[in-house]
């Protein structure tokens, strides 16, 4: 046990947490931006998978990291928009459309993989990877340096994306409109905002975030594509963003919390504990965290009239 604690409070552990969190932060931001526009997006699982695949294939054929990145992001935007088309134009339920997208992504990538490799060993497809990056001054700081420096460049992009998300959401007219549409679509419509278009933009931006997450998975985290390699991260992202209230920093924290649990699981599995049990830890953790989260949200209605976000307390004000 003490060896476990030692290894958990090690520099390597926290380095791993950042690495494991990266493919959660991206899709969580995607979930958050669609949630802000009033939609639940569970399609990031599929979008990540498609982008992961597209990136690997394009990098192999063109041998250009840049083109692989662009193609992956384009696939994310395309499928984000496709989700929008089905939901907004054809009026399909967004959950159903997203489930369909996830199945499509899974089937399509497997099919294309077989077509391309001719059924041969898929690990023959060695992808290019995004480079790792040492931060010059930071790396020499003890403890913090080894944790924060030397990550894949996409990890830094993930953290940067949190900031970008914040700026887009709270510092641009588009962000304002997304929030207005999510809070009261009729209000937005009544001032001439095209509600469907705003929702579509939110879905397309979420496609970008999802794609970056997928690209990191196949071209940084590992360097190949394997079937269903996203493995539920698109769903955990929903939990992470929801816990974070869809706010930038909250979503980051939510993602890192799940990153932490997942990393701990990897460490614990080195102990002599049945592996089935160990593998259930992330799921258990999700359930526990969500339970705590919703208990907080549905706390007794008769609260002291002192909570700002309590719907009951809406009309309080005496005459000016």
């Amino acid at each position: 046990m003490s060896t476990l604690l030692e290894s958990i409070f090690s520099v390597e552990f926290f380095f791993a947490v950042l690495r494991v969190s990266t493919p959660l932060i991206f899709p969580a931001l995607g979930v958050a931006i669609t949630a802000m526009s009033g939609n639940i997006n569970i399609g990031l699982e599929g979008i990540m998978l498609i982008a992961a695949f597209t990136g690997v294939i394009v990098s192999i054929y063109t041998e250009s990291l840049m083109l692989a990145l662009l193609a992956g992001v384009a696939s994310g935007i395309f499928f984000g928009a496709a989700l929008g088309y089905f939901h907004l134009k054809l009026k399909a339920d967004i959950i159903l459309a997203a489930v369909a997208l996830n199945f499509l992504a899974s089937g399509l990538t497997i099919f294309l993989l077989i077509v391309i490799t001719g059924g041969r060993n898929t690990s023959a497809l060695r992808s290019l990877t995004f480079p790792s990056f040492h931060i010059p001054v930071l790396r020499s700081i003890p403890v913090l340096g080894p944790i924060l420096s030397g990550h894949n460049i996409m990890t830094y992009v993930a953290f940067l994306s949190v900031f970008v998300y914040y700026v887009v959401m709270f510092k641009t007219p588009l962000g304002l409109r997304i929030r207005a549409v999510g809070q009261n679509p009729d209000a937005a419509r009544s001032v001439g905002i095209n509600v469907d278009r705003v929702k579509l933009y939110a879905l397309m931006i979420s496609g970008v975030f999802g794609a970056l997450g997928g690209l990191y998975l196949s071209m940084g985290y590992v360097s190949w594509f394997s079937r269903d390699m996203v493995a539920g991260r698109g769903f955990i992202a929903v939990a992470a963003a929801t816990m974070g209230g869809n706010l930038s920093f909250g979503t980051l924290l939510g993602s890192m919390l799940f990153g932490l649990v997942n990393t701990a699981t990897i460490y614990i599995s080195s102990l002599d504990i049945p592996s089935d049990l160990v593998q259930s830890i992330p799921y258990l953790a999700t359930v526990i965290v969500l339970a705590i989260y919703s208990a907080r949200n549905f706390a007794p209605r008769k609260r002291k009239a002192g909570s700002a976000h309590h719907p009951e307390n809406e009309h309080h004000e005496k005459k000016p």
């Binding site: 007219p173 304002l176 929030r179 009261n184 419509r189 008769k302 909570s307 809406e314 009309h315 004000e317």
Partner: protein
Amino acid sequence: METILSIQNLWKIYPNGTVANQDVSVDIKEGTIHAIVGENGAGKTTLMKVVFGITQAKSGNISLRGTPFAPSQPSEAIDAGIGMVHQHLMLAPELTVAENIVLGVEPKRGGVFFDFDTAVQTAQETSEKYQLAVPVDKLISELPIGTRQRVEILKALYRNAELLILDEPTAVLTPQETEILFQTLDQLKEQGKTIVFISHKLKEVKRIADTVTIMRAAKVIDTKPASELSIEGIAELMVGHKIDLSRVAAPEHIGPAKLSVRNLNMTRDDGVEAVRKVSFEVAGGEILGVAGVEGNGQTELVRALVGLLPVDSGEILVGSTDIARLSPKEIRQLGVSHIPEDRMEDGVAPLMSIQENIIVDRYEKPDFSTWFRIFWKNVLAHTVGLIRDYRIHAGSPKHEISSLSGGNIQKCVVARELSADPDVVVASQPTRGVDIGSWEHLHSLIVEARNRGRAVFLVSADLDEVLKLSTRIIVMFEGEIVARFEDASTVTAQDLGPYMLGIKRQEESSATVSA
């Protein structure tokens, strides 16, 4: 005067078959205030929604300054210089006032970024220019409904609307706020703006309008200069019969107290006292009216009575049960019903049907369900009965409740709450937005509950209503009861005024006077 907006032979039929406008023709002259009055469901809101591009007519012509105009969405109407303040407010609750005002035409910095500071500044300037005071940097959800209303008007003015449509703007305003609004409207008229004003308050129509159009059952009955009409005349044209505005007779028998409040204190979020040392009793068979400018603690008090807000100290007894720790449902089970002041927020689930909204408080009764199924036939029959008894203008009980006109949604809420046959009725603005005919009708239902020995606690911003119905009256100012009138039959609005404005207060607030 030029005709700015001309509507000719307009028909509007909703997809569910409701004919909301039938061959409607109206001309609106530039630089005038044009009132549209009519019963709930007469089609006033629908007509304006067509003009504003929210919904489209089946046939007919609209022309704006002589050119044909058929907006397919609000942005076209806004671009053409039309602004609309909706009956049910259209604001994003978790955005600030300034953000709501500039939404859609946001000021930018560097061509890309939303310029929040400029937004706040221009919102402030607009607010000052039109003398509509709003706290520009607060969230909408923190504001009382009257202030939200002003935000809506500012939204339209900020976009330089030349033709301003106000759909029942005063329904949620206090008399003082209404007067300020009217001064603003007069001022806007002088600046050459045209205003379409929809209201059920005929006094206001008389006060502000140049021209009045009267609608009934989807048709225009008449359009006349306001100077040729009296209040009684408008009312008669609207509902087809004379309206009785006299006070109701005092109850014959008053029973024991059913609702007792003792020394109640409440604090708001920001730490200010909302309710201070409030004590009163309501007995079976009487109506206790609360007069007061809105925002003087009535909202908090009502919410405490029905279990929606906690109290700091004091007692609320229903019969002899202290309800402090009970849930709203348990309080209902004690026989308390609640007509909330904001029907869309606390009164109905807007996307559910009329019948579902009617049975939310009673679906557990054996008539309506067992543990695994709902008897929809009985629910339907029950709802049909209420629609008839409460004269709700509705197509089918299965229609979404938000497809009803505003006043009819209000009637559904009142129908549910009164038909529960409660012991104690807590009614907050029970007739907000209902037409003068239904106003009278709902009053007779409230009086009927009283006569059956129920205790009625009535809060209303409509002084006529308080004076007409109350057996006794208390006046609230800044969270306190500043006057009590044990016999309401001789009280006049003039008597109440000084107390409502805090100019006067009775020495001992527990002392009583007979005016």
